[in-house]
């Protein structure tokens, strides 16, 4: 124990008390008489007893005078007499063996404690207590009672019942104060800043000032005026399990769980990412973009989640960089705001605060009647040809494009709308060029780019025209990551350059297979059949209703096929076949070209008939011309010089 410390002092005190108690008890037993000194003695009659932890709590009636003067018949509860709660330690209780109706004398130094919300005083430090026996009858009764064990009710105390050390003068604090009690008694900040939901102070225009003055607790009363530069959805993190079923951020309607976010900018040019309510990808994310982008909004009730820097949040800062420098002059902090002082010549931001809703859900109320702010920078739309020519890395770019083909990553455990995918897109700037640049470009969509249900459906059927907002260009590739938004409808405001680029004037043309063709691209080819890979040829029946390729034999009738997706017998299955053919292509004459054919198309139809009729004669197929076939390039190798492709159907 520390010398001179509180513990040591209590120890010494305790030792003194202990000897006094044992001495006193000794005296009681030997004398068996009520000590003559009656001053300060508390006389109580026990009405009820229960136990809490090891303390015995006795609800008692305080008696004015010694009950020896009263006859047992008069010992009725007098409602006028004050009620007390007397606490006894386990040791004292064992010594007393008290029961209801017993009278106890409590000798000083007992202590009285008054509780906040209760009228009943509590008596403690009742070490020096003695039971008083009223008469000879009771003595005998006592001896019999002593043999039978009395059952005392035990109250179990909840662990959730914590102690509040502050004064509770504000009811609002009670609800949320459990985690917020300050430990140093001198700080009164929490009790001082009461909540005044109606009294909002003047609207401020600096995010930084608000953040620095309010600290991490949040700004309830303060409003900051900002411009909404971008609206997007971020995938919800693991931590929000309470909102999801099981451990996956998936909802029962098949949507993906995400969080609506805003990238806002204040009058000083400072940015902040604001995380709002949770959404599902089945919600109409597009409407938030359309209605909110470019408008002014007053931020209130926000809390600081994080302060992040350029090095730690490359994605966020690539978006911020695309909005820098500001289109109108911004204020300079700390200086009087003469118009000469405002500038656009500032270095790009190096840090950004991420804010979140203070508690519960917040519903952003953007006044849609409001004018678009001057500070708003709509996405700059370019043609794909221009984008491919950009020199930088990690540049955000926006463009319109026609999606020709979608290739999903092959993990089947992940649902369709959350897999990474490759979209092959084109626009008129690529289609109309003779040579030098590819006609079709691959856009990679990562799992962190949230796609709305609408967009996902459009991508699986038809050849949709999609607006890619704030995609990332770098290392010769376009990728859609967090904060990229894919839209089907034209945003209201874009720089007009991209207005007509989306219209394609003729049928889509793919690049033809040649020496520059790379893996993971699409191309068209023509050639002559020079061989068939007989070992990999096979056919299988599929359900004519749903296309399920895994049909089973019917348990009742082994001659029939059963589709367990439709839960019905398949009477007219569609036969699908897979075949690899070797072609000689004049456009890439040095290579062996192997094409996996598995759609009911040109070449395939020929071979189907042959195989079906069991007159499989490769000879009859050799030399046949194969017309323009659209393919996906699986791999290109130089030793051996081989290109492996797969026939595809464009959207």
């Amino acid at each position: 124990l520390c010398r001179g410390g509180l513990a040591e002092r209590l120890c010494r005190l305790q030792n003194r008390e202990r000897s006094a108690i044992s001495f006193w008890r000794h005296q009681c037993i030997s004398d068996d008489k009520i000590p003559s000194d009656k001053s300060g003695v508390l006389i109580v009659k026990i009405l009820e007893i229960f136990e809490e932890c090891t303390i015995q709590v006795a609800i008692c009636q305080q008696l004015e005078q010694s009950p020896a003067a009263l006859s047992p018949e008069d010992a009725l509860i007098n409602a006028e007499e004050p009620i007390l709660k007397v606490l006894f330690t386990r040791e004292t209780a064992a010594h007393l063996k008290s029961r209801p109706q017993d009278v106890i004398h409590i000798y000083p130094p007992w202590q009285k404690l008054l509780l906040q919300n209760s009228d009943v005083p509590v008596i403690m430090n009742t070490y020096f207590s003695q039971k008083v026996l009223l008469s000879e009858h009771s003595e005998a009764r006592e001896k019999t009672y002593g043999l039978t064990k009395m059952l005392i009710k035990k109250n179990i105390i909840s662990l959730a019942q914590t102690f509040r050390l502050d004064d509770l003068d504000d009811k609002l604090h009670q609800e949320s104060s459990d985690n917020q009690v300050p430990c140093a008694p001198q700080t009164h900040n929490n009790s001082g800043s009461k909540q005044h939901p109606s009294a909002l102070s003047a609207v401020n225009d600096s995010l930084l000032e608000m953040v620095e003055s309010q600290g991490a607790v949040g700004w309830r009363e303060v409003q900051v005026r900002v411009v909404i530069q971008r609206v997007y959805c971020l995938p919800a993190r693991e931590g929000h399990r309470s909102h999801t079923q099981g451990n996956k951020p998936l909802l029962s309607n098949g949507g993906m769980f995400c969080r609506l976010c805003l990238l806002v900018q204040d009058a000083y040019g400072m940015f902040s990412e604001v995380q709002l309510q949770f959404l599902s990808s089945t919600d109409d994310i597009e409407q938030y973009c359309r209605r909110w982008e470019g408008k002014s909004y007053c931020l209130a009730g926000m809390k600081i989640l994080q302060r992040t820097t350029r090095g730690r949040a490359l994605g966020l800062f690539s978006l911020i960089d695309s909005l820098w420098p500001p289109v109108v002059p911004v204020k300079v902090p700390g200086q009087s705001q003469d118009s000469e002082m405002m500038t656009t010549n500032l270095p790009p931001p190096s840090f950004c605060y991420i804010l979140t809703v203070q508690s519960g859900e917040i519903h952003v109320e953007v006044d849609e009647e409001e004018q678009i702010s001057n500070l708003y920078q709509p996405p700059a739309v370019h043609g794909l040809k221009e984008i491919l020519g950009i020199n930088g890395c990690n540049e955000r770019c926006s463009f319109w494009a026609q999606v020709l083909y979608r290739r999903l990553q092959s993990k089947h455990s992940v649902p369709v709308d959350q897999r990474e995918m490759l979209l092959f897109v084109t626009d008129s700037t690529l289609q109309n060029v003779v040579h030098g640049i590819p006609k079709v470009v691959a856009v990679s969509v990562t799992a962190s780019c949230v796609l709305s249900m609408e967009v996902t459906e459009a991508l699986s059927a038809g050849s949709p025209l999609v607006f890619f907002k704030d995609a990332l260009w770098g290392n010769g590739r376009i990728i859609c990551v967090e904060r990229t938004v894919l839209l089907l409808q034209k945003p209201l405001l874009c720089s007009a350059a991209g207005a007509d680029l989306s219209e394609l004037t003729g049928p889509v043309r793919l690049d033809e297979l040649d020496s520059t063709t790379q893996a993971n691209s699409i191309c068209a080819l023509r050639g002559t059949v020079v061989g068939v890979n007989e070992s990999t040829a096979f056919s299988w029946p599929t359900c004519n209703r749903c296309g399920n390729g895994k049909l089973e034999l019917c348990p009742q009738d082994r001659e029939l096929l059963y589709c367990n997706q439709c839960s019905e017998v398949v009477t007219t299955p569609v036969l699908k076949m897979q075949l690899e053919v070797f072609l000689s292509c004049p456009s890439r004459s040095q290579s062996t070209v192997k094409v996996k054919v598995w759609h009911e198309m040109t070449l395939f139809v020929l071979l189907t008939m042959l195989l079906f009729l069991q007159t499989y004669e490769v000879q009859s197929v050799l030399g046949k011309e194969v017309g323009l076939l659209n393919c996906y390039v699986h791999s290109v190798t130089s030793h051996p010089n081989c290109v492996v492709l797969e026939e595809i159907v464009l959207l």
Partner: protein
């Protein structure tokens, strides 16, 4: 009478200690014996922990707090802010299993440190706080 008595008594006691400490920073002696009466054998060890400034309050940017108490054996125990919970074995035994005490000495030390302004303060990241909580789970398991 329904409802419990002991927690209200303990709470009042701690508030009085806090008030007394604010006023005199010495008035603790008056309450020592009361502490002993209510908290029994935990009182002296808890005060000892306070003397040694063993209680630290960890705070994450989200506002979530946690207490860590350096026990006499040198082991660090974690106490929650929102309910009475401590990772020490005595808590599991006396409080949870036997309901013999309201608190263990570590939780009492946390309250006393708060009342007397003897908490050390430490700002941590969300991740660090989570790791501390999860580490405790692993130990139990």
């Amino acid at each position: 009478m329904d409802g419990s008595t002991l927690p209200a008594v303990a709470e009042e006691l701690l508030r009085e200690i806090k008030k007394a400490f604010q006023e005199t920073s010495q008035g603790i002696d008056i309450f020592s014996s009361r502490l002993k009466f209510i908290f029994g054998p935990s009182a002296v060890p808890a005060l000892d922990l306070v003397d040694q400034r063993s209680v630290t309050r960890l705070r994450a940017p989200s506002g979530r707090t946690l207490y860590q108490v350096l026990g006499s054996s040198g082991k660090l125990y974690t106490c929650y802010s929102s309910c009475h919970f401590c990772t020490c074995p005595a808590f599991g035994f006396s409080v949870l299993q036997k309901s013999e005490s309201l608190l263990c000495k570590h939780i009492l030390a946390v309250y006393l440190s708060r009342a007397m302004g003897a908490c050390q303060e430490l700002a941590v990241s969300e991740e660090q706080l989570t790791n501390i909580l999860l580490a405790e789970e692993e130990d139990e398991g």
